[in-house]
Symmetry: C2
Subunit: 127 residues, 2 copies
DNA sequence: GGTTGACCTGGAGTGCACTCCAGCTCCTAC
DNA sequence: GTAGGAGCTGGAGTGCACTCCAGGTCAACC
């Protein structure tokens, strides 16, 4: 199964421009081309793109994703290094979640405060 | 209690440049000045700064923080609108956490995969 | 054979949130 | 009285990750 760039964009959630951009900066290998010179993405290409979007979503900088891509390119010998990268990234994602969670607590507190103000206000009116 | 810009930076976790930048774009009110024309931040200034950093950390764009700051400036009458903003922001933070969590699951899976490869490799050697 | 629509290229432009800089003023300590 | 350090201003520069554009090609349909 192969996909046009438009289909690849739709399935990966990236824009067409971003797909070409990722190729340009060496984050994805240039996909095959059809007889007319158009990109045709394979299922493998697609799953790599999907994985990349996960890394992006979790805030991995492009620079690091490129490093990962280069290691991947060098084959099984770099598996340890790649695992290490994912390991460290996992830690940073966990930290990020914890950080968001703690800010969320502050937000809850603040919202509760507004609710209290509202409550007081209503009491003031009905009193 | 008042604080120099350096102290305010340290306590808020923002840089000195960022403090001046926030003031310039109207995110924080210009603090008082001492006899020499230097900024002196009050405890209130500080707690606003700290709250702002929470909003930033949770990904609220500056544009929206500025809107919030302007509402705040208009006093109690805008409390409802502000609460609404925090409400919506809270929802987006929760979504973000869920998104990170689901990407984390993918990451776990991938790491487990690498571990399996390693395991196979070691078996191959010792066999 | 002409029009349409998807795709191509290289390169320029955008938005965001800072960050840095030159050249200045002030206060303090020696 | 002068050297040093913190702070001041307006404005320019940076890094990131796209996003857009002009001008062109190609295949298909009418």
């Amino acid at each position: 199964m192969t996909y046009s760039i438009a289909q690849a964009a739709e399935r990966s959630g990236l824009s067409i421009d971003t797909l070409r951009y990722y190729e340009r900066i060496g984050l994805v290998d240039p996909p095959a081309r059809d007889s007319g010179g158009r990109r045709t993405y394979s299922d493998d290409d697609l799953s790599w793109l999907v994985f990349l979007t996960r890394l992006r979503t979790t805030g991995m900088p492009i620079r690091m994703m490129r490093e990962y891509a280069q290691l991947r390119h060098r084959g099984a010998a770099t598996a340890g290094r790649r695992k290490q990268m994912l390991f460290e990234h996992r830690a940073s994602v966990r930290e990020r979640i914890a950080e968001l969670q703690s800010c969320l607590d502050v937000l809850e507190y603040k919202i509760a405060h507004y609710e209290q103000i509202e409550h007081t206000f209503v009491e003031g009116i009905t009193a």
